[in-house]
């Protein structure tokens, strides 16, 4: 059975990489046309988070989502592995 499991579980994981990249990308795309304070908010948040965790330069992204008539401020933080 061990051999069979080996073959079955050898998943490439490119889909999860794709998802992660997309989440960041889409959040950045959505910023275009959003409130002008978003980039500064991102930089400020990055500073605060860095007091606690050593995250990458592009680890923080903030975007505005429209859900019907509501606006939602969405914050994405990618933690280091």
């Amino acid at each position: 059975m061990a051999l069979l499991d080996y073959f079955r579980q050898r998943k490439s994981n490119s889909a999860s990489i794709a998802k992660e990249r997309l989440q960041i990308l889409v959040a950045h795309d959505r910023r275009v046309g959003g409130p002008s304070y978003l980039p500064q908010l991102e930089r400020d948040l990055l500073k605060v988070i860095r007091k606690y965790v050593a995250v990458d330069n592009d680890a923080v992204s903030v975007s505005v989502e429209h859900d019907g008539r509501q606006e939602i401020l969405e914050l994405n933080i990618v933690l280091p592995d």
Partner: protein, 269 residues
């Protein structure tokens, strides 16, 4: 008054024309008077997928520029009396389309038809923005792949800002996600974005999932909308999508990889 539905995506080649043809035929089969318009001026394809390419006399641009009237340009489907096709021009370019011109044609069609399906060209240029401008509903066609998902997200932004409904402060366009060319086997192997991932990123109501299927190519070879291939998974999935659009609550199908035997598992990856 007709309901106007745009089939859009941003990215090219994801299945808009395949979807427009199937959706229009599905609505016609349920008894609704339906017209499907090719907005891909300069690169018309819908007539081929519908199998009426040899019956094109006048086109959408001829009607806009007053060289023909709508009645002369409409092609009646040979299989279903409820279905008509308005082909695009092959020789002109998208500049021939104008907001007023398109509006006038849609108005005229609105008096005759219950559903108007607009097959959008790829991109975010004039043809695509005009195809969506007058829409009441939008089907956002997306493949489970990074560039398609990203472009769909762009399109969703444009739908909510650059349409007649947005400009006149009416209720927004109703937007639905249609995932096409979905391959459960590849998702299971971790090679393809899963349905849930695409939904999570785009957060739209899911109206259907069309599996990757050889019957789509076979049908387009023959000039038959794939929804008429009742044996095929893709045809059945399109049929479900039409039913959901009309308000039926159906579970999504063809989401799981088909079970393989031992050898398939060992060698099929």
């Amino acid at each position: 008054m007709a309901r106007i539905i745009v089939v859009t995506s941003g990215k090219g080649g994801v299945g808009k024309t395949t979807t427009s043809a199937a959706f229009a035929m599905g609505l016609a089969e349920r008894g609704f008077k339906t017209v499907v318009i090719d907005f891909d001026v300069g690169l018309r394809n819908l007539d081929l997928i519908m199998g009426c390419e040899r019956r094109v006399v006048y086109d959408f641009v001829n009607v806009i520029s007053g060289e023909a009237n709508v009645g002369q340009a409409l092609i009646k489907d040979k299989r279903n009396p409820n279905l008509f096709i308005l082909p695009a021009s092959q020789t002109r370019d998208k500049e021939a389309l104008t907001v007023e011109g398109v509006g006038k044609v849609l108005d005229e069609l609105s008096a005759e038809f219950e559903f108007i399906i607009c097959d959008s060209p790829a991109g975010i240029e004039k043809g695509a923005t005009l195809a969506m401008y007058y829409a009441d509903d939008a089907i956002v066609v997306t493949n489970p792949e990074v560039s398609s998902v990203r472009d769909s997200d762009r399109m969703i932004g444009i739908l909510s800002s650059k349409s007649r409904r947005a400009e006149q402060n009416l209720d927004g366009i109703r937007e639905f996600l249609l995932v096409t060319r979905y391959s459960p086997e590849r998702v299971q192997r971790g090679e393809m974005l899963a349905l849930e991932d695409v939904q999570e990123i785009l957060s739209l109501d899911l109206i259907g999932v069309i599996p990757e299927s050889p019957s789509v190519l076979n049908s387009s070879n023959a000039g038959v909308p794939v929804i008429l291939d009742r044996e095929s998974n893709a045809g059945q999935a399109y049929n479900d999508m039409v039913a959901r659009y009309l308000g039926e609550d159906l579970p999504h199908r063809f989401l799981k990889a088909e079970k393989k035997g031992l050898l398939g598992r060992l060698f099929g990856g």
